[in-house]
């Protein structure tokens, strides 16, 4: 089923059903079901250890779920490798350390196109790079510099630009605002909104900064100790004082 057809029939771009995953003897996700609406922003919130990062890792194939389904446009993808998932249209931006500092900015971006079909024309790749530089101006001036020389905000920009070069339909963002100055953080959040509104990318946003995430999200899910404790419109969650005090800390 094509993604457009799936959207028409109301099948979410990404859904997980009854997902169980963990590390060794520890169960980090205990029967989680979530659906992320097509071209919407779904915020995944919760305290440290709630299972937010594990959820993203299980979706992108970094860890193999022990049970449950990962549905892309309704088709089960659980248990596939990250190499396969990115080809299926899922880009995962892990928390921190996302750039490869030993590579130049441009090389980091080219890594983002490694999932493209082998025969993709050179001109198409060049055009995609130009488009990335167009969108992220500061990167264009630094393209020959090592990524190690970038500031925190520029690194986050580079990581998101690289993920977009994989042409994802679903973008998983793990704490994109972590460690950034407030002004840069606002820019990153702004970018996330544009990616969903203007480019139709389905976004799953994991954040410690619950207030900021709910401000831009359409939908919110609150995890606690590996289980979903609340799932509703972002506005509804933000208005739920008890829930906020209990799980979100604001």
């Amino acid at each position: 089923m094509s993604s457009a057809a799936a959207a028409r029939e109301g099948v979410p771009a990404l859904a997980v059903e009854d997902l169980v995953a963990g590390y060794g003897g520890v169960i980090a996700l205990d029967g989680v079901s979530i659906s992320a609406g097509t071209a919407a922003i779904t915020a995944v919130l919760g305290a440290n250890g709630a299972g937010k990062t594990t959820l993203l890792r299980a979706v992108s194939g970094m860890i193999r779920p022990r049970r449950g389904r990962v549905l892309l446009d309704g088709a089960d993808q659980a248990g596939r490798s990250p190499e396969q998932m990115v080809r299926a249209g899922v880009a995962h931006v892990p928390e921190g350390q996302g750039v490869i500092p030993e590579l130049t900015v441009e090389e980091n971006l080219r890594v983002g196109m490694m999932a493209w079909p082998f025969r993709s024309p050179r001109a198409e790749r060049a055009a995609a790079l130009d488009e990335a530089y167009e969108r992220f101006r500061p990167l264009a001036d630094r393209r020959r510099k090592l990524a190690a020389t970038l500031s925190g905000g520029e690194r986050q920009m580079l990581v998101i630009a690289r993920a977009l070069l994989a042409r994802p339909r679903v973008l998983l963002l793990d704490e994109p605002s972590l460690g950034l100055a407030p002004r840069i953080m606002a820019q990153v959040m702004d970018l996330v909104v544009r990616l969903s509104r203007e480019h139709g990318i389905t976004i799953v946003l994991v954040e410690q900064n619950a207030r900021g995430a709910l401000a831009i999200a359409d939908h919110g899910v609150v995890l606690n100790l590996g289980r979903v404790v609340a799932a509703a419109d972002a506005a509804t969650l933000a208005a739920d004082v008890a829930l906020r005090h209990h799980y979100l800390g604001f």
Binding site: M62, P101, E107, G112
Partner: protein
């Protein structure tokens, strides 16, 4: 003065061989943080392949090319069959497996070819070159040795730097998680790394065996020197491996030439250099880990 020139030039030649071994170790180390103790054994084995081919066909170059191809195949097969199952296990498992690989290959070589020393032919004359009457201490074949390693190293450097496959290998080496999330098939990249390491080891075996003779343990010393060179260079830096190989080759050449009964002291000097580097700069002279600390 003439002595100094001779020692330096012959040091450079041996240094290039150590550099080839060092580079083969670096290629595998960068991908998986694994030191391949079987590298010398693989090089010894492919050199036996070369000697058999040369014996049957009478052509040095056929033996040369087939040995290099055997290095590629042997490297890939070893990675696929015995190394891949150790991934996602404690790192010591893989180390033990490579030591086992060394013992296995040396044992097989002993069974197939016997333990006697065999001479290995050269492609070019080993008569010393002279410039106007002054002996340079190196032969035409020595020039070939240096050139062969230099060309191979440069070809690898260019491929790593400028091709998509090279970028894939570097990305996988620096950050396997990001590489996989970007769609790079890291397991395949590691196999290619072992194949290239096999190629470099085979080259080193072909180039050093005319000087050392060939026997099942003949690459052990060369492996230790190559390892020392790789550590001097920082273990994860290809450029450092080459510089480390040259520094070590020249230092050992001076030690062997100038010290009283120097030839016997050479392994000791190598050990001394290794200890010194590990004490003063444990990351080696060219480690890339400095970039990471930013």
């Amino acid at each position: 003065m003439v002595e100094f020139l001779q020692f330096t030039l012959s040091g450079v030649v041996f240094g290039m061989i150590y550099a080839a071994v060092a580079l083969s170790l670096v290629l595998i180390w960068r991908g998986t943080r694994l030191l391949n103790y079987g590298q010398g054994g693989m090089a010894m084995f492919t050199t036996y392949v070369a000697i058999e081919v040369i014996y049957h066909t009478g052509s040095y170059w056929e033996g040369f090319v087939i040995a290099l191809a055997a290095g590629v195949v042997l490297g890939a097969i070893c990675q696929l069959t015995i190394i891949r199952p150790t991934m996602n296990k404690p790192p010591l498992n893989a180390v033990i497996v490579t030591i086992g690989l060394l013992i296995l290959l040396e044992g097989l070589a002993g069974i197939f070819y016997g333990g006697q020393y065999r001479s290995f032919p050269t492609a070019f004359s080993q008569a010393g070159l002279r410039i106007g009457g002054t002996p340079l201490g190196v032969s035409r074949f020595d020039v070939f040795v240096a050139a062969a390693v230099l060309v191979t190293t440069l070809a690898l450097a260019v491929a790593f730097r400028y091709t998509s496959a090279g970028l894939r290998m570097r990305a996988a080496a620096f950050n396997a998680t990001i590489a996989r999330l970007s769609g790079i098939r890291v397991a395949r990249v590691l196999t290619v790394g072992w194949a290239l390491a096999g190629l470099l080891g085979a080259l080193a075996g072909l180039l050093v065996s005319p000087s050392t003779f060939l026997y099942p343990n003949s690459m052990d010393t060369i492996f230790v020197y190559g390892f020392t060179a790789a550590v001097i260079g920082g273990l994860d830096s290809p450029g450092g491996a080459v510089v480390g190989g040259l520094l070590l080759g020249i230092a050992l050449s001076y030690a062997g030439g100038y010290l009283h009964s120097g030839a016997n002291l050479v392994p000791l000097v190598a050990l001394g250099i290794l200890v010194l580097v590990l004490m003063v700069r444990p990351d080696g002279l060219f480690s890339a880990s400095q970039v990471r600390r930013v």
